[in-house]
């Protein structure tokens, strides 16, 4: 595996940044503890049963996706809403722009949606003199700073109050404020005006409910409620895989989502929205548009072995528990989706050869699979992807050495006498070290994998006598 592809420098800088390491570690550590306290045997005794149910429902929904999408559409329309089907992010942007133009809307308020990050919606809209304001506090801060989210659920995990103070002063022209409660009040004040003046509110959706023609949005701040209630037009953008069959299925998913993400049995607001205001309702949008996004999801759908990647409900638990994510943070992943879920879906969306190192950036510890509420077998998918990377790169350039090495080892290890002799030879020629451990290698050995190993730890020298040699020397039983 060529190091040239791995963002080594950036990873090293992240690991060496003590403040950032603390922020990532304690941030994810808190989320780990909170989740633990709400899925225990005493707090959620049927947790494992719920995971099985969730996986079962998602599998059923995904395997019958066309049916549920059609049912969803028909119910949205029956409640007075509209459905737009988009194959790509560009089509979503075109749709929003054209609607905004037709309705004369200049200001858009947006609540947190990873799907819109995925398609760079804000950038696309900005080019057309539309102001699209992020209203989730963490996302708002990042928008002002022109940065990508650091974590699926806690986007500004890497920012301190002093970073925020700098950003607010620079971008909003306010007096420098480092008290977090006051910073929040500043954001509330600025954004309140936007909510009430905006012509369009854009939200994502955590779930699309087929039997109701409804979307479900969960949040803690109230910005999604405001974005979907105050402006005259509400646009909800969601990937097609968000569909669940029935409103009653929400019982399973809502019990798992908040707990897995932040240790909350329910987030502060859970909105079940089905279209524009009905006759007799005094507030709410006059128009509702549901935008269904493909953007490559149908490719994942086609792969029966890896299709379970689409079960993801974006809780972020896998990120929190991943020892690799907890060291390298969200910005070292090549796409907006980071952590273990990012590692399995990025190559499926972009092709395994775009970031071939990504599926290898894991020790396969399995902590992610253990906490995934929909039981996606992430380690198995990583192994599948690694095998695809090898297949795709067979005999092409950079990994030739590695491929030859594994081939050679396979041959040697299927010829036991060669294997034994080679082992004996290594034991004789290798440096002895101290107590069988090497602190330094002779200069001619300081290459490739040995050098990489030595950069972090001492290396064990081959044993003077291997186990098989020992066994040979044992007195034989009668």
């Amino acid at each position: 595996m060529s190091g040239a592809f791995i963002p080594l420098d950036s990873v090293r800088r992240t690991i060496a940044d003590a403040r950032l390491q603390t922020a990532i570690y304690t941030g994810t550590g808190r989320l780990i503890a909170k989740r633990q306290s709400t899925v225990g045997a005493d707090t959620l005794p049927d947790y494992q049963e719920l995971r099985d149910q969730a996986q079962r429902i998602k599998r059923h929904a995904v395997e019958n996706l066309d049916h549920y999408l059609e049912q969803l559409e028909s119910n949205v329309i029956a409640h007075g809403g509209h459905v737009a089907w988009c194959s790509s992010g560009a089509e979503v942007a075109d749709f929003v722009l054209s609607l905004a133009k037709q309705r004369g809307a200049r200001l858009i308020v947006k609540s947190k949606s990873m799907t819109t990050e995925e398609i760079d919606l804000n950038e696309r809209l900005e080019h057309h003199q539309l102001e699209a304001v992020e209203t989730d506090l963490g996302e708002y801060i990042l928008q002002l700073a022109h940065e990508r989210p650091y974590h699926i659920v806690a986007p500004a995990l890497h920012k301190t109050r002093y970073d925020v103070a700098d950003i607010f002063t620079e971008r909003l022209g306010v007096e420098r404020e480092v008290v977090i409660e006051s910073q929040t009040r500043i954001a509330r004040r600025v954004l309140r005006e936007k909510f009430l003046a905006a012509g369009i509110g854009i939200t994502g959706a955590n779930f699309l409910v087929a039997d109701s023609g409804a979307i479900v949005v969960v949040e803690n701040e109230g910005n999604a409620r405001l974005s979907s209630s105050a402006p005259a037009i509400h646009i909800a953008i969601a990937g097609i895989e968000k569909v669940i069959p029935r409103a009653q299925d929400l019982a399973v998913f809502l019990k798992l989502l908040g707990r897995s993400a932040t240790g909350q049995p329910l987030t502060v607001y859970t909105s079940f929205l089905s279209g524009p205001r009905r006759p007799g309702e005094v507030d709410g949008p006059e128009e509702f548009h549901l935008v269904l996004l493909d953007n490559g999801r149908t490719r994942l759908l086609a792969d029966a072995r890896k299709r379970e990647s689409l079960f993801c409900i974006r809780c972020g638990a896998c990120l929190n528990h991943c020892p690799v994510y907890r060291k390298i943070g969200g910005h070292n992943y090549p796409w907006v989706y980071s952590g273990p879920i990012g590692a399995i879906i990025t190559p499926q969306f972009h092709g395994v050869l775009k970031d071939p190192w990504l599926s290898y950036a894991s020790s396969l510890c399995g902590a992610c699979a253990e906490v995934c509420p929909v039981k996606i077998d992430i380690p198995r998918l990583l192994l599948d992807l690694r095998s695809e990377v090898v297949q795709a790169r067979k005999w092409k350039g950079s990994t030739r050495v590695e491929q030859m090495a594994f081939r050679a080892f396979a041959w040697i290890a299927s010829h036991p006498r060669v294997y034994a002799r080679l082992g004996a030879f290594m034991a004789v020629v290798a440096p002895r070290g101290e107590n069988g451990w090497l602190r330094r290698l002779p200069f001619f050995m300081r290459l490739g994998v040995l050098r990489k190993w030595m950069s972090q730890r001492d290396l064990p020298a081959p044993a003077r006598q291997s186990f098989r040699q020992y066994w040979r020397g044992r007195p034989k039983e009668k």
Partner: protein, 242 residues
């Protein structure tokens, strides 16, 4: 008490780097009354190749393993990750070869990680060992999550005379080895080891025990580099101590 025969698969890491683990495991099994058989043609289960995406090469090594251990009744392995490879992943290598698949399934049912063999087949929790010192136990990822090995080794250690077992926080956190991950992502692997070492230091233990020699290799290498005198021992070595 005569108990019958077991075949041991010592693993390539133990064979070439830490033979004392194999020796200790043999001693424990023999003291319990088992006749231990070491099939000399054994080499490697193919896990490094499989984990790196080289399925053809892994298949080749799996076939060799199946041939060597064809009629073994019990295969005992001092490694959670190798046991997992044999018991869970061999079958994935032969989707189009029914007879190899059957052989893989047959072997999967007869392969035992060492601590589980002691507890579930030999049905012993106390092997009569003695070891003076404060010990902390590290949960190897494959053993913990794929083989559900958690309480077992702790029970075995609790019965060792003179041994004080202290639990480290986040005992189940990965040590950072992960096979080729340790060299491909050396910086991350090293950082993970150092986090683990912080947990170990807080227990004041002089010895770290695990059921996987690769974890121990990672931790010992990193602790030595940090100038720490804490040593690592495989569970088998502790249980063989008198």
């Amino acid at each position: 008490m005569r108990r019958g025969q077991v075949s041991i698969f010592v693993t390539c890491v133990v064979d070439q780097l830490f033979p004392e683990v194999g020796i200790a495991m043999t001693e424990v099994l023999e003291r319990l009354g088992y006749r231990v058989d070491f099939r000399e043609r054994q080499t490697c289960c193919g896990q490094p190749a499989f984990n790196s995406g080289y399925r053809d090469e892994a298949r080749c090594l799996a076939r060799h393993f199946l041939e060597v251990f064809r009629d073994a009744e019990f295969i005992v392995v001092p490694s959670g990750s190798c046991t997992s490879m044999i018991a869970h992943h061999f079958t994935e290598l032969f989707p189009d070869d029914p007879s190899a698949l059957a052989a893989a399934q047959h072997v999967a049912n007869r392969t035992w990680e060492f601590s589980r063999f002691l507890l579930e087949v030999a049905r012993v929790e106390d092997v009569g060992a003695r070891f003076e010192g404060i010990v902390t136990y590290h949960d190897s990822c494959h053993a913990l999550r794929e083989l559900q090995v958690r309480e077992g080794p702790r029970r075995l250690l609790a019965n060792v005379r003179g041994l004080e077992l202290r639990e480290m926080d986040a005992a189940g956190e990965c040590c950072g080895f992960g096979g080729t991950f340790a060299v491909k992502f050396a910086d991350v692997s090293g950082a993970m080891a150092r986090t683990k070492i912080d947990s170990i230091l807080r227990t004041e233990a002089g010895t770290v025990v695990s059921v996987d020699s690769s974890c121990l290799m990672q931790l010992q290498g990193a602790m030595r580099r940090a100038g720490l005198g804490i040593r690592t021992m495989h569970l088998a070595e502790v249980l063989a101590s008198r």
